[in-house]
Symmetry: C3
Subunit: 171 residues, 3 copies
């Protein structure tokens, strides 16, 4: 009985440490999540079916409310596009936080559709969307590794540099 | 026992009213569903997995069989693009009706990918895809509120103005 | 008891025949699967949730490691685009083989997003993506019939002619 309780105690501590991992990582890295922007039309930030969360496409809205805009490869460098994809990822983390209360409930980042605003001769979409993918693996570790497409759009709303949609498995 | 049967009766009536809601709404609004067009290739209008229906991308085919074509913002106004998105939505309702027999079996419109045919300087994709989103909420109420991306395509089949694909949770 | 064992035997034989179908079909058709290319970034070829496999977008990488590149309708004919879509499909079969061990575990090709690299005036996307769809039905029969969108991208990574992503139901 004593041993059982001890095991239980150790498990709880271990789980507690793990459970604080993701939220702690964000703090360690200085990633600040703000309240996600609300859609201004007849749709929502996320819909849950079973243990899957379908997140609406988000863009690189900065904490001051402005967007990173322009066509990557023309108005923006690949590095600036990478940063825009990372900011987009942070906005998805904000949506996940608002939906789940705690980011440790994320079981797996399943599928990412990374859309880059660019002209017809652009070819480096993966290097741009890596900004999103790297963030997810930085934050969630192996749970952050996803299936992905990185493609080029002729245009995006408000001329944002990047838009990403994602499916997330949750506990 | 009497009270139980009464409750049962009232529940049935209430369910009956709710169950006729969506189909009745379509009649009230004069939305007429026709048989959905059949894919002329090796694919189908919808595939069901568990309680999810994945619908093929549809476009703004009118009841006379012709399509609303052209690039929004160039050949078509935003208002005409909105109308094209609404017509696309009606075509998805036709597919749902054909698959389910009764639109009241729709539990949730889950995820919409709204694709607008436009040139590189177009920025009002959300205003166009609202034609689809507004229809879904008009018809299904809160069940019609979905996760969404609204993006710009360089081109679409047959130069249609809009193409939308959708995932629907069904009973 | 005898009859039961006989039924069991016949069922096993029948299942055996069916089970070798897909792998045998590939041999009969001379379709050779190679090891799928590994993503060179923080993502993976496929993620499984329940009985669904989400496959990353793949392109027309040939067995010699080079890609079919160029814009369909400008640099490539529709027929060449069709072939690129077919090669893309073979690459997805390689991913499925690597994930599942045996292609007979494929229960249904659920949803295909077929993206064609082309200019704004291109209109024959379905004819291109048919190269992918035809392959799936050739290999999997009715299980290969999927929901689909076939759309035009302003650009794709490395200027590949086609990129496809797919959701597959597995046993």
């Amino acid at each position: 009985m004593k041993q059982f309780l001890l095991t239980l105690f150790i498990s709880s501590v271990a789980m507690g440490i793990q459970a604080q991992d993701v939220e702690q990582k964000l703090k360690d890295k200085g990633i600040v999540l703000t309240a996600p922007s609300s859609p201004i039309a007849n749709y929502v930030n996320a819909v849950r079916v079973g243990n899957l969360l379908y997140l609406s496409g988000k863009g690189p809205t900065k904490t001051d409310g402005t967007n990173i805009t322009g066509k990557v490869g023309k108005d923006l460098t690949i590095e600036q596009g990478y940063e825009a994809a990372r900011v987009t990822g942070i906005n998805h983390l904000s949506v996940l936080k608002a939906e789940l209360g705690n980011l440790n409930k994320v079981k797996r980042i399943v599928k990412v559709l990374g859309m880059v605003n660019c002209e017809g001769n652009f070819t480096d979409h993966p290097k741009v969307i890596n900004g999103y993918s790297d963030l997810m693996v930085e934050v969630f570790g192996d749970k952050g590794k996803h299936a992905r497409s990185a493609v080029g759009m002729g245009s995006l709303p408000g001329n944002i540099a990047v838009e990403v949609e994602v499916i997330v498995e949750v506990e």
